[in-house]
Symmetry: D3
Subunit: 314 residues, 6 copies
Amino acid sequence: MSNDPIGPPDAFANPRFATSATFARLPSTSEVSNPKVVVLGVPFDSGVSYRPGARFGPTSIRQGSKLLRPYNPALETYPFANVQVADDGDVPANPFNIAEALDAVESRASSHLEKGRKLLTLGGDHTIALPLLRALGKSYGKVALLHFDAHLDTWDTYFGEPYTHGTPFRRAFEEQLLESEACFHVGTRGSLYGASDLAQDKSFGFEIMTSDDVANLGWKECASRISAGVGDKPLYVSIDIDVLDPAFAPGTGTPEAGGLSSRELLQILRALRGVDIVSADIVEVAPAYDHAEVTSIAAAHLGYELLTLMSLGS
Amino acid sequence: MSNDPIGPPDAFANPRFATSATFARLPSTSEVSNPKVVVLGVPFDSGVSYRPGARFGPTSIRQGSKLLRPYNPALETYPFANVQVADDGDVPANPFNIAEALDAVESRASSHLEKGRKLLTLGGDHTIALPLLRALGKSYGKVALLHFDAHLDTWDTYFGEPYTHGTPFRRAFEEQLLESEACFHVGTRGSLYGASDLAQDKSFGFEIMTSDDVANLGWKECASRISAGVGDKPLYVSIDIDVLDPAFAPGTGTPEAGGLSSRELLQILRALRGVDIVSADIVEVAPAYDHAEVTSIAAAHLGYELLTLMSLGS
Amino acid sequence: MSNDPIGPPDAFANPRFATSATFARLPSTSEVSNPKVVVLGVPFDSGVSYRPGARFGPTSIRQGSKLLRPYNPALETYPFANVQVADDGDVPANPFNIAEALDAVESRASSHLEKGRKLLTLGGDHTIALPLLRALGKSYGKVALLHFDAHLDTWDTYFGEPYTHGTPFRRAFEEQLLESEACFHVGTRGSLYGASDLAQDKSFGFEIMTSDDVANLGWKECASRISAGVGDKPLYVSIDIDVLDPAFAPGTGTPEAGGLSSRELLQILRALRGVDIVSADIVEVAPAYDHAEVTSIAAAHLGYELLTLMSLGS
Amino acid sequence: MSNDPIGPPDAFANPRFATSATFARLPSTSEVSNPKVVVLGVPFDSGVSYRPGARFGPTSIRQGSKLLRPYNPALETYPFANVQVADDGDVPANPFNIAEALDAVESRASSHLEKGRKLLTLGGDHTIALPLLRALGKSYGKVALLHFDAHLDTWDTYFGEPYTHGTPFRRAFEEQLLESEACFHVGTRGSLYGASDLAQDKSFGFEIMTSDDVANLGWKECASRISAGVGDKPLYVSIDIDVLDPAFAPGTGTPEAGGLSSRELLQILRALRGVDIVSADIVEVAPAYDHAEVTSIAAAHLGYELLTLMSLGS
Amino acid sequence: MSNDPIGPPDAFANPRFATSATFARLPSTSEVSNPKVVVLGVPFDSGVSYRPGARFGPTSIRQGSKLLRPYNPALETYPFANVQVADDGDVPANPFNIAEALDAVESRASSHLEKGRKLLTLGGDHTIALPLLRALGKSYGKVALLHFDAHLDTWDTYFGEPYTHGTPFRRAFEEQLLESEACFHVGTRGSLYGASDLAQDKSFGFEIMTSDDVANLGWKECASRISAGVGDKPLYVSIDIDVLDPAFAPGTGTPEAGGLSSRELLQILRALRGVDIVSADIVEVAPAYDHAEVTSIAAAHLGYELLTLMSLGS
Amino acid sequence: MSNDPIGPPDAFANPRFATSATFARLPSTSEVSNPKVVVLGVPFDSGVSYRPGARFGPTSIRQGSKLLRPYNPALETYPFANVQVADDGDVPANPFNIAEALDAVESRASSHLEKGRKLLTLGGDHTIALPLLRALGKSYGKVALLHFDAHLDTWDTYFGEPYTHGTPFRRAFEEQLLESEACFHVGTRGSLYGASDLAQDKSFGFEIMTSDDVANLGWKECASRISAGVGDKPLYVSIDIDVLDPAFAPGTGTPEAGGLSSRELLQILRALRGVDIVSADIVEVAPAYDHAEVTSIAAAHLGYELLTLMSLGS
């Protein structure tokens, strides 16, 4: 039927190694009428505190997504046939002005969310989670947050600057964008600035499952706790690729040893079926530090699971 | 005694970093009279659907094998002393003509199998599993198959071409080369073209243990199921290096996140002691995408376990 | 005026590092009405005799072209304002069937040439020069040829195969597609199979300026000889990126030491102003062997000069 | 108070990506009066049998340590506030004379140990463990040994040379530097020269937990066995980075597939709280084979745990 | 004599591969009393328009400088014996606030210039040339400028931002910091935004020697023109490493094909003996894109020539 | 005729990318009766003062030589048909004992030279030039020396050690192995330890053509001076690959910016036709620092010219 969602071109007749600028070789938003799930790039990395380069993340994740196929056997569904998924290209965020860039992201995100669409945003650094949560707030009020990351990202300021890749979730808490009883950090590890980092984070309502916890509890128990905590609240999923061990994701800016394997993270995500994911992001892919697209491919595969879950709706 | 198998030269007097063109610095077939196990290279990658480069696989795996030593402590045996193992170099497969290349592989493999030898073939891409199974068919009739891979490789055609790296096992099934009650895919994961991929695969008689299954069941249970399924049938083992996660094997052509660790795979292989492995291959090592020989070394170590098992006989 | 050619988006408001799938961030052919010069990708490398990987060439050259700006100061003109230049994406050439792939390239090229358009084709391996010359033959009859390459590419067959990356210009000569009195190899060097390689090549009417000749004569004299030889004949320019020294173009399949610098080649190209270039290609960029986009950027800059020359017309 | 230990400069005002030559941006020994724990580099790799390059290990580990922060949340303490930790730079070990180099290492180590300091030594290759144990012997008599490595390092000689990176612990045993009832190899795997390698090793009093054992027993059980075996004896911890799988530590000289993950190793280390670690080393980081500092960062994070444990005292 | 300048430690007794954080293993400013020439790092790259990463430039250039030896045979002098040269470490420039960062650079530079010292500043991106010229202005009034770069860096704004790596010399002109009759761009090439870029640049008083000019005129003539133009005015030399061809300097952010060789640039610099260089910078080294320290070593060797010239005085 | 020299296998039927362990895919010495020119590997790098890794040089140069073809068009001859050239594999030089290693090299070289053969030795580091000159001395008495290098390699000792990669030619002079009136350094550049380095070198009889001299004089004049100086004396050619600029040869241990291009060096070599080259070496290729075989291919092509010259005899 003519209104069926349009998916990627047939890989048996169109080489997947041909040039394409969209995620999973999906149609762009200009080619379809009213997508339900939109992939959006934000090539912005002016909020980083160590290695820059995530501005090239959207290009590299899309390149890493070319092998994706239409059927998700783990979740037994065709994500791109369930609903129309389309790629909206990149937000032209100003690299020299953080505030202006955040406004541009919020505005572009809002334009989609207002139409009832869900977003998978490809960063870019973690600073962009804040304008995305602001945009979500206008549509959903407070949202639950599932945050995969080596770091807490609830610090206050760096060099006096309040809007950086280490601070988005403190700002979001302060701006009352988060359901503070339903916020999770998963995969944290490594050294901190002080014990107060944890105390403050806890006061914002976050529950922590460290990378060690994931190993010791297992992905199934982790996913159960998340699902139970989130309940039927609208959930935002934010994946900093550095939640993976540097072996699985070398291409990132602030790597910490001792992280998750990509299989663990994929298993946790798939186990969230049934939770109401309203939007998501994957950030901090810095391809200058990647090798053989290992990081980009991991990010693309994580994006595929998120798109599948969003395509299934709540 | 003069008829003792000849192994690698003494590493305490001959630097392992010296140039050598044989697997594990073993003698070449021209240097020994009647080897029982032969290592054979097939530098062929004209059957790939994404990243090429596996034509350089045999060279890189042999380079990665230079550190191998004579004693296998996990299996408590000296593989190169059990039987004569020798390296037969590479099949000069035509890169421009798939059919001709497959014939050359089958012919060279047959020349060894006819003499009662076992083969460890180093690819090259997975297309070459078909002529190897054809050659085995002439000596053993149908064989059991243990296939480690991220992918099923039972697709029908690509761009209309029936002989590619994604199709060897469907062809082998059609040509009645496989004991269809004793065929296993281990390590599969990632997206598919459709649910019918799985249905068709099942109809060919394959049993699947996904990468997630390996994690959840454990290597011991996986190995038990395989051993039980294979019984005393002659077994062919085919390892696509992409069964490993890209973290462990970046140097390959169609990587999928969420794969096995090399330790898991080594443990499964070692637990197959007692099964009658009649030949094996390791394919899809594409060194242009490798780093620091990580992939080549993993492949070489997998090859060492396979040679050990073949040296022990059935 | 509304019919002015459309160029790249403003780089002062749209980051050049944002995802884009077109050469120089130009519009795609679906976005403009009747381009005069078309950039076309051919992600095909099944004709290579050594390192594969040029199938990813079109994507990498386009990525390397993102920094290109609207004004060419060396030629003092605005190429994208002179005429409409647009990117037509990639030909889905069958990687498993050389003949079929060549037909697809010829057909797509012809569809543009028939409309009086000029083509800049991004390979892919050098095999594709043959179908491009066939398509040109239908529009122009015999053409002059300016071939930059480390190699002659007038060999007869490899492994019995007549259509490979080492044979296109012998086939073209045999098919009477070349003005044999106006054909140049520039930049050749390195070892050959025999003295007859040169004798045969000469019999086809080629004049050779080796890489050493370029150094010794200087770019100006080389360009003068080419211009004089070509006269007002329609000229096809074919650049194998391996004409550059591996220092300048590591990302290629059959590198030869002792090549041109990119500055030399750019100077020769610019000095061809006034010659009637009717189409051109840049081939053999294999990004798996590139570093930091050095090769892709060199290719993109060469493409920019070729587009400028074609935009100026004859 | 003015006698409080001096830690790294404030990362919120001093960029961690600024040039620094000390571990964790700690003060150098010339900047503090009497450190209790000292980090010492030994840029020496003339004892290696395969890939050299560990001479650049100290520089690369320090570079990989720049992201380290003051608070260790897993062990709930501030290592650099517990005691003064300082970096003493590198021992200028003669690369052309192994004996002279070992003497220089022993002498420098002794100068610290005599003052009751603990040492974290950054290699360099594993040869240097011998002079470090000699120095310890002068202060502590025999010590318990916890040796993380893919290899036993109790071979006798290479090319007739007794002092190499494969022999330090046999020499240490012979020199009666080890509490032979409290010596552990953890993480061994891969092929050996003969069954006698294991028999001899056992005769020296070593207990082995292979990499497979770690996977099968779990980190907690491994740590318990170590703690029980060590009891209250002074313990030396020696970490060859190749104990990690090449996926986690590609930058090393004699990689073996099938190793530990960095998370496993970090968990074992942290579980040793309460054991009396008197000094430690991290060796065999060869950055020419590293990628994106993955290996250096893993080494730095392991060093952080060791420093934390040493800062807590016994 | 005790007041002789202190140079690097003896390389025949202290391995140059040992960890060191200073340029050429020179003493730091804290170790000497009153240096005449100071090396200063500015790890800042928030002004870049394409690939970031120059924040790691100072560390990488210092690493690339370790092989430098005391005697300069081309200029027949001992730079580090002529005057005391010392390394002052890095300015902690705020990565999130360009204005604040520029102030910090100016302030630190002024603190040295006020004492009659000369500066070799290691960037960092080209934005930092502005505060350095501001500091120079306070000591010298207007200065002559010798600017090696692929780009003009006299653009007006990017995304509305006036202080970026593409605009420092327009700002400097506007602020009347430059002797506009004695300003040179050397090595420019590649595409521009418009013909007006050149016209405006000329109106600021710049003379241009393009990369092609350098090839065609030769280094000697170029140096003569520069020397003649500068006369006895105080000269500031600013080297954007992208003046070199990407073959010679892949590790940079906005590479352009067709650049200078490092030998050409070294020859030009050495020929400036006798000109009064009062300070200099080397910027835009982005090591994430470098390979085998090729770019860092080129930068370090350029720095060595600049230090030599400054050590000779005017 | 059956006594015709055996060359490489036919590249039109045997893929050059197949595994091979000999230079240019030539026969090994065990496959031919009495070769006139022998290629010999020395995987030894224990004499290096900075980056190690040249022990892997012989393997990498042979890998880089696979594309070499039978006809040399620049010298218009078939080197492998002129005389039998064969590969003798590698000398098992002890990595832990420099003196023992040098003896092994001298002994193996002598065994060939005594039979009137010429040698092309592939290093390994430059230390090995000394035993090669010692072996030559026994056959030829004093020889002329043409030494291409960034460095003089006539230093006295490092860390007190007289046999290192920086000292072979001083030792050779002292041992009266060199015709001191016919010794040339070509391509030197970069900083030195002192002016006395040059004075001493001159006192040994060396003439220097720096890298700048090569640029300024041109390859033809350089070659003329060398030919005139050498006359009809037997000449040894020693090429340290670092004579090339790091752009052309990144894979080496002590790189210096400002070096020769590979084209320049190839041109100089070819112009030596007629000089009596009795043996040669190519050293200091350290593949861990190479990229895409750029350095190895340059080394292999240089070796091809040397073999051609030696095949032509005197």
